[in-house]
Amino acid sequence: MKIVVCIKQVPETTEVKINPETNTLVREGVQSIINPFDMYAIEEALRLKERFGGETTAISMGPPQAAEALRQALSLGIDNAILVCDRAFAGSDTWATSFTLASAIKKSGFDIIICGKQASDGDTAQVGPGISAHLDIPQVTYVRKIESIINGQIKVERLMEEGFDIIESSLPVLITVVKEINEPRLASLKNMMRAKKAVITQWTYKDLELNEADIGLNGSPTKVVKIFTPPPKEKGKLLEGTTEEIVRNLVNSLKGDICG
């Protein structure tokens, strides 16, 4: 079974700061990490291989430094790593990103594709379903458990707002996973050594036989026209006094919102 995991390198959000003078993101010295949700995707790929056999491949689209994220995936036990990297991919929205990743996944071969439910920097949750649409395969999003894979049929639990669905799908399939699905492992020394030396395959848009007009900024239907900092929240009020005073004060302030 060919198991593909899509991962994204993102800034570690705890360190995203705004420069108050320029109102821009401070990116200098910000650590890059694997998108936290993709860690569960990697872990689930490893577990699927342990349960059902097969080969695991991590694919990432991003700048050259995203190779570091792939190396980390290798150190966790992933077998192969592919970096989809080209200046021509810059400016991709979710349509163009899922198109490009789908092309790479097609080239690598696949039976099951696993993505994190969303990336922590963009928060769109659109690339996973986008990939499955481009590949014309079924999708199951927000998976919290893979129950079984028997005779080319996979049975999973999909987290919904009020509970979960038990869903059956034919393979090949794309699933996106939530945190609840597993507890990611730590890298082993052996795999860390292997990852250090591993050669990471790099594919450009030419390797994927894509047309420059269909990728990156050119292939993206959406366009950002304005970026701004949200209006600052009104400064909060610290309630002081005895507990009784504070409580009465707060209840009075909220009365309209709660009883209205």
Partner: protein, 414 residues
Amino acid sequence: MISVILDKCVGCSLCIKVCPFGAIKLVDSPRACVDAFGRGEAVGKKAVIDLDKCNLCGACLESCKFGAIRLDKKESIIKKIKLEDYKGVWVFAEQKKGKVQSVAFELLAKAKDLAKDLNTEVSAVLLGDNVENQAAELFQRGADNVYLVEDAKLASFCDEAYTKIIVKLIEKYKPEIFLSGATTIGRSLMARIAVIVNAGLTADCTGLDVDKEKRLLLQTRPAFGGNIMATIICPNHRPQMATVRHKVMKEAGIDKNRKGKIIREKLNDDALFSRTNVLQFVEEISSTVNIAEADIIVSGGRGMKAKENFILLEELARVLGGAVGASRSAVDSGWLGYSHQVGQTGKTVCPKIYFACGISGQIQHLVGMQSSKIIIAINSDPYAPIFNVATYGIVGDLFEIIPKLTEEFKKARQ
């Protein structure tokens, strides 16, 4: 690719201020260095874009008053569509167990405004089994038409069949705008549809407006955990698709006399065929606990100290008709299930009132709740970061304060 036209750049640094990626710097005119005639005198500062940091968002283009920044775009080979063929604002009427969800009514309110500006109609798209009875309320809340597709196979949401059917509807009736709630269903469905109909899709919008002249939907959404807002358009593709956060917009009111037209679509078995099947739905969360839906959320963190203490929050939530939430550390300690978790790896919530009790306010928690309308923070540490986003802050012992709050609210509600 993006470039600065040096002859036009006056070094005013306007672009530097708007670049969210810090990719632009002013340097002594590079022209001075490369001049073939060896005229090396500095002719002032010019903007230079670091392409490794730039993600081609185009914010600098808008800001430059001198037309000195150029962003070249190649025309896609994907077939061009006639924009004027696309008319009307559509709303996906998400239903569960045969009942249209409230997020659809919020979308209808917005859709009415947009349709008025564009001088067009509002339509709802309703898929399900025996759901025709839901159409009346959709009309009362602002829909002019309801596209109705009924089949036993559509009773509960199924990615593939729903996608195929809505794609067929879009191709046949050509809406110019199509909105859905940013729910589990909406986010899965819209992303799949957008790829197939070759449309742009913006996730999780908190603001929608329209450029009347160009008939463009201006879609505003938070990025980088709400630290930055981006306005996004989709100039050359239709429909313009967006998912909208629950609870951000107000529900449309009911006009009992309002009627509309049901457009019933018959579809063949092929459209209903799906490679995925929902075998069973297992309800897990009691209605008081669905934090995504709640108007009031009472959340607890590490400061709650033990699982038993959450009863304090449950009582307060019950009095207020709200739900109980938790920070990641409370969930990781096993005090509450994952479905209660608010924050980056849990749910993003936007209630009217959010109580943060014993939650320090790590950025991962803040991104999941900071768009709540009123935030009340109760914490013993006056320096806890939660106070930076709080509307009302209380420094003190939550075990003393919360029971008294519950009492007072009980009295106030009587």
